[in-house]
């Protein structure tokens, strides 16, 4: 597997991190209460048993941990108001079916086109959007897949500024002797928070579950009957485009149209007309 390189979307998003480093949500409050009760209860029991030194040590240790958590909670409440609001490009603007996030990063992976003939060109589209007030690194791992000529797993480490939405386009070509039928490209997403979790930005009316790891299975259909004589677009290179920044008033969807509108359409099977 090739060593990962951290990719930054173009044009660069200048949005800095903001908000507290630690989120300090209900779980932190629960842990703080639990540790406080443990410190008080354990310390008193040891004190009554005559183990004064151990009682002091236990109270000191648990009390310090509880105080540290309470301190971050107070910091959270002091800076509760978030000055920015996410553009919600994936959920609202593009209307994608997004049910959850991975460490506040919403993502979806699919082929465009997804109905192909052997030898045709296609692209994996990885849409990502950071719904946090601090930057994220989204680590995608996809493949291997014999029909796509991926003999080994590939990785893409995508840097996302606070509130940024972006698109990673990875061109692929189906091998000529690939078997017809339904195929899935396995994709795994893990997200790192190099500068802390930060706050969650408001995302419209959507409630999105947050997961540690997200697995995708990007489907595509290989159909011998729709074989096209058009050659695979071998000259296309992977691109990482910024679609929206919370420092700007509106998303830049013209970049999306530019990236997808000019590409090869070899192997596309026409879809039935359906209202959006």
């Amino acid at each position: 597997m090739k060593p990962p390189t951290l990719l930054t979307a173009e044009p660069a998003d200048p949005t800095p991190d903001f908000g507290p480093r630690h989120r300090s949500g209900p779980l932190a409050l629960f842990v703080a209460f639990f540790i406080s009760f443990s410190a008080a209860g354990g310390g008193l029991v040891l004190w009554r048993e005559g183990l004064r030194l151990w009682a002091c040590l236990a109270a000191l240790l648990f009390g310090a941990a509880a105080a540290w958590i309470f301190r971050s909670l107070v910091g959270r409440f002091r800076r509760h108001a978030t000055p920015h609001r996410s553009h919600a490009v994936l959920t609202d603007v593009l209307g994608f079916d997004i049910t959850g996030t991975c460490h506040d990063v919403a993502a979806t992976v699919f082929f465009e086109p997804d109905s192909l003939a052997p030898g045709a060109a296609t692209r994996v589209l990885i849409f990502v959007e950071n719904y946090a007030s601090r930057q994220r690194i989204a680590r995608f791992r996809f493949g291997p897949h014999a029909a796509l000529g991926l003999s080994e797993a590939r990785t893409a480490d995508l840097n996302l500024a606070a509130g940024q939405a972006a698109l990673y386009v990875f061109p692929l070509a189906v091998v000529a002797d690939a078997a017809a039928g339904e195929h899935d490209l396995p994709v795994t997403l893990r997200v790192e928070c190099p500068t802390g979790a930060g706050l969650r930005l408001p995302v419209g009316r959507h409630h999105l579950h947050d997961l540690r790891t997200v697995h995708f299975a990007a489907p595509f259909t290989l159909d011998i009957a729709s074989a096209s004589s058009a050659p695979a677009a071998a000259s296309e290179k992977p691109r990482y485009l910024s679609l929206a920044s919370i420092s700007e008033p509106a998303p830049r969807l013209e970049l999306l149209a530019g990236a997808l509108g000019t590409a090869s359409t070899a192997g596309i099977t026409p879809l039935p007309a359906e209202p959006l």
Binding site: L94, F96, V109, F110, F111, A217, P219, A257, L271
Partner: protein, 143 residues
Amino acid sequence: MISPQLLHRLRTAQRRSAEEQQLLSGRDWILVAGLVQLLSGLHPLFVLINQRVLGAPLRPGVAPGIQLAAEVVLAAVFVVLWLWARFAPFRAAGTAIVAFLLVHGALGLFEPRTLLAGAIVKSLILVGLVHAARTGYLRHRPL
């Protein structure tokens, strides 16, 4: 702006991918059910330790050792079914539901109180397994 045709193409392809992802989550439900099943074995384990080590009096009903063994074996079965669900998601989820109902039905016949104890957890496991069967069934249909 992007054209309605392009937006339609993207949404259609994304919806197909989202449905495929649902199938994956259905498989994960079986594993989660196995882990929850393992955790629910903690109560009979504590009762067993209480009896064997601390000399607590025996209680009527199913022996905690048998209950513990049933919970652990069922959890192991779920893990095996999770592996199998990669190839046959619907049959694996269906088998998991049958195994779950058989084991807890048998325990309930001997000691009805076991059905009441942890009824919320059992219901959650069953909801997860039914969800896994539902998403597995979707694989039979063209996406």
